[in-house]
């Protein structure tokens, strides 16, 4: 076990409450509440997250509902269903993905706009 940690919440597991920490996290099960992660969060196709999410980078292949805040990037892949508001520098939505909500990218507008 090195410092490169991978945390997995498996299919049969449900977590209700708050989840926080560093390291990469893969959710294949169910999480309700709050997620705050310093690194990369992946919600796999079998995963369901009903939580406000804060992470550095987020990849969604499954279902997510709640507000999402990512420092670098949010990727909503074609198997994903996402509901909520997203705030991130870069947001990618693939063809086939379902998304309802608002997106706020950190766009620097010119001063005269």
């Amino acid at each position: 076990m090195a410092s490169e940690q991978i945390n997995i919440i498996g299919r049969g597991i449900t977590i209700r409450g708050s989840l926080s920490g560093g390291g990469d996290l893969v959710i294949e099960g169910r999480v309700e509440g709050q997620v705050a992660l310093k690194n990369h969060l992946t919600i796999e196709q079998s995963g369901t997250v009903e939580a406000d999410i804060k992470a550095d980078e987020l990849t969604i292949n499954g279902e997510a509902s709640g507000n999402i805040e990512a420092n670098t990037r949010v990727a909503i892949n074609n198997t994903a269903k996402v509901q909520g508001d997203i705030k991130s520098q870069r947001v990618v939505i693939e063809d086939g993905a379902v998304f309802n909500g608002s997106i706020e990218m950190d766009v620097k507008l010119p001063d005269d706009v």
Binding site: M1, Q5, I6, N7, I8, I9, G10, R11, G12, I13, T14, I15, R16, G17, S18, L19, S20, G21, G22, G23, L25, E28, G29, G33, K38
Partner: protein, 107 residues
């Protein structure tokens, strides 16, 4: 089957439930109820009531433990709380404070 691992940098405050094995290297506060085995590794800190089939503890646990099969306290673990299970093993070097209730009526 994918094993669930809660790594040493992860903190969970709340309730964990499920029907597969769970490995805790990080911190969990609240409640854990599983139909399978729970492993609290040496780096793991659990402040929760635990209700599972099997528990193996090498880390620190504070809370009441109820297992339908077996509870194993490894050496160097620190456990405070009451344990209820048909089979309880305490290894040499383990620290434990609490009541032990072995349910022997099945035999």
């Amino acid at each position: 089957m994918a094993n669930t691992i809660i790594g040493s940098s992860i903190v969970i405050d709340g309730e964990i439930s499920g029907d597969e094995d769970l490995v805790i290297q990080g911190t969990v506060k609240g409640k854990i109820s599983l139909k399978e085995s729970l492993f609290v590794e040496a780096s793991g800190v659990v402040e929760a009531d635990i209700d599972t089939q099997n528990v193996e503890i090498a880390g620190r646990v504070t809370g009441n433990i109820a297992a339908s099969d077996k509870v194993e306290l490894k050496s160097d673990c620190r456990v405070v709380g009451d344990i209820k299970a048909p089979r309880i093993l305490i290894a040499d070097g383990a620290s434990f404070k609490g009541n032990v209730d072995m349910d022997v009526k099945e035999r």
